[in-house]
């Protein structure tokens, strides 16, 4: 039972990260029908943005800081990282994807792979600037600075034997808050309505006076900001970051998006959590060295049994 609960905690905290990244995939796929390969790398850039912001703005961690200062500092780093990645997402869309929108879909896919590689390997170059920050960070891993001190809930550990840290809780709460905000934006605001209209049929939407280009840009900004938040949440609790660490979570988040039904916003959240839990339970009760293979087995299973995902609608291809 304890083991079961422990896996539940771990699975939820991993699943929340997948869900946040998956939202970006699913929204972009919804409006553009493009698998944004570079999305996992935006997540990586988010973590590095947080790393640099914390270094420049906060300096050394002060153990005597009050809870309020810690909270404000964490918010500053997170929103800053989200803003930087939002800008990055806008730039990628504007200069790499928009010029190709009317070409064959394969063209955009290849460009997306190019962008992904540019970020991964651009970040692996040896630093050009030394001051105030070392950028690019180079190929070896870096340690994310402490923004929020880790503390275990000892009484839970002693009573039920499940180890939970405050970082797990904060990360989960933050992910849920962001998802609720997104849910509100997508289903309750004018922009959200426009976004859903574009994803339904962009030509008709544009005839109805919806500024399609702007909606697509904002979709990228939103998705990238969520990925950045995921990157920072992940880096705060597991502080090793390197330029390639977005690759595998990015792929798994894609699996989560497909599992939930790609193009479906609540589906991506559920898909992320389900995938996180599935991975944790399977890896926990069997051989954990095959952890990375589980997600792809899930993907192949979904594609075989229910290609439209858990919540997706089956659509016939129109000619």
């Amino acid at each position: 039972m304890t083991e079961f609960l422990q896996h539940l905690v771990n699975g939820l905290s991993v699943g929340a990260i997948y869900a946040l990244i998956a939202l970006g995939y699913t929204m972009v796929y919804g409006v553009l029908k493009l698998i944004n390969f570079a999305h996992g790398d935006v997540y990586m850039v988010g973590a590095f943005a947080g790393y640099y912001l914390a270094q420049v703005l906060l300096g050394q961690y002060d153990p005597n800081a009050t809870a309020l200062t810690v909270f404000l500092q964490a918010m500053l780093v997170t929103t800053g990282g989200m803003a930087i990645c939002g800008l990055l997402g806008y730039t990628i869309e504007r200069f790499a994807y928009r010029p190709l929108r009317h070409r064959a879909r394969l063209t955009s896919l290849i460009t997306a792979i190019g962008v992904s590689f540019l970020l991964e390997f651009g970040f692996q170059l040896s630093p050009w600037f030394k001051h105030p920050i070392e950028f690019p960070p180079g190929p070896s891993f870096r340690v994310f600075p402490t923004i929020v001190p880790r503390s275990q809930f000892e009484w839970i550990d002693q009573t039920i034997g499940v180890s939970i840290s405050n970082l797990d809780i904060y990360g989960l709460v933050m992910a849920v808050v962001l998802m609720l905000m997104l849910q509100y934006i997508v289903y309750r605001t004018k922009f959200g309505t426009a976004m859903r209209a574009v994803s339904f049929d962009w030509q008709t939407a544009s005839l109805m006076g919806i500024p399609v280009n702007r909606v697509i840009s904002w979709t990228f900004v939103l998705g990238s900001a969520l990925a950045a938040a995921a990157g920072i949440i992940q880096a705060v609790s597991r502080p090793k970051i390197d330029p390639l660490f977005g690759l595998i979570p990015g792929l798994k988040a894609f699996v989560a998006a497909v599992l939930g039904g790609i193009g479906n916003v609540p589906g991506a959240m559920v898909g992320g959590l389900v995938l996180g839990l599935a991975e944790e339970y399977v890896a926990g009760y069997t051989d954990s060295s095959y952890r990375d293979a589980i997600a792809f087995s899930v993907l192949i299973l979904v594609l075989l049994v229910r290609p439209s995902g858990l919540f997706g609608r089956v659509t016939a291809e129109k000619v």
């Binding site: 698998i35 390969f37 394969l106 955009s108 540019l118 792929l251 699996v255 095959y290 293979a293 792809f296």
Partner: protein, 329 residues
């Protein structure tokens, strides 16, 4: 006269063998590995072009199939390294074992291709990209966890079997295969799928079947390339077959033109030799690949050659086409 088509189909190899043999004698040993890499890249690029170029699907798992082939052949040559077939001299016995290992590599890679292709090819092209990428990572994680395959350190001490004759003939075989495929009815079906899948299906083309077949063929040749590479550097590690390797091949075919065998061959030669010359700037290599992809897509998405072939030139048309195409006319 009836024997002529059969003879003709072996003609490239009959001509190729002495050429590659001469090449093996002429090329200085410092450049030997580069020359081998050029030919291996030709095998990889042309075979990936069958899926990505001819069929219009998008596979990113070529390195995974390479790994399957490489490890299969490595296990075979390692197991049979002391065995000498009694009726043959040592040299020929070794070559026979290597040929066997290459065939086994192609077979296992083809089976892996079938297993991956069957579920994913039923769906639209861009899913395949992710599934194959994921498959490559699964293969790597299996190898890294498997004791008989040497885990992360891999297999070492393989016999040095790959020479320019072997790689040259294999590259030639790949090109001949791709060309004959392109001019056959199978090839027409693949092009139809690339141009418009729905229309092709409406015309009675068994789209999934053709896609899976193309994928299996491509995987088999990737396995061949993997086997050749591992016996050239006498080593077989999971690090040789990361997704970066797959992307390198994608860059080759995108540069040469998706669907052009000529383009694949030329860009394989130019890029491999060019990168060798620019070895000092190693760290910029992947960045420049990425920039090359993006700039190419923005300015000339069809690549250097588009879907054109060298043998489409009027002058060369006289040299004749594969027998199958002639009969079809």
């Amino acid at each position: 006269m009836r024997a002529w088509p059969v003879v003709k189909s072996f003609l490239p190899f009959v001509i190729g063998f002495p050429v590659f043999w001469a090449l093996e004698q002429v090329v200085p040993s410092a450049w030997n590995l580069v020359a081998v890499t050029v030919f291996v890249n030709i095998v990889l690029a042309v075979s990936l072009n069958v899926v990505n170029g001819f069929t219009g699907q998008f596979s990113l798992g070529h390195a995974g199939f390479m790994a399957v082939g490489a490890y299969t052949s490595a296990k075979i040559t390692l197991a049979l390294s002391d065995v000498q077939l009694g009726f043959l001299p040592v040299f020929w016995s070794d070559q026979l074992v290597f040929a066997l290992a290459l065939l086994a590599a192609m077979t296992t890679a083809a089976v892996a291709g079938l297993l991956v292709g069957m579920p994913s090819l039923r769906l639209r092209g861009d899913y395949l990209a992710i599934v194959t990428l994921g498959f490559g990572e699964i293969i790597r994680s299996i190898i890294e966890n498997s004791k008989p395959l040497g885990q992360a350190t891999g297999l070492s001490g393989l016999p040095h079997r790959t020479n320019l004759v072997w790689v040259g003939l294999c590259a030639l075989a790949t090109v001949v295969m791709a060309r004959r495929l392109a001019t056959s009815s199978q090839g027409r079906a693949l092009f139809a799928i690339r141009e418009d899948e729905v229309a092709a299906e409406a015309m009675g083309v068994d789209t999934t079947g053709y896609k899976v077949r193309a994928f299996v063929i491509s995987a088999a040749y990737a396995g061949l390339a993997g086997a050749l590479v591992s016996h050239a550097i006498m080593l077989c590690t999971p690090r040789m077959f990361t997704f970066v390797r797959s992307i390198e091949v994608v860059v080759l075919i995108v540069l040469g033109g998706l669907g052009s065998i000529t383009g694949s061959v030329i860009s394989a030669v130019v890029l491999t030799v060019g990168l060798e010359a620019l070895r000092e700037f190693q760290s910029f290599r992947m960045v420049s690949y990425a920039l090359l992809l993006i700039v190419l897509m923005l300015t000339r998405p069809q690549g250097l050659f588009g879907t054109h072939e060298l043998w489409d030139l009027k002058i060369l048309k006289r040299l004749g086409r594969p027998a199958a195409a002639k009969e079809a006319k």
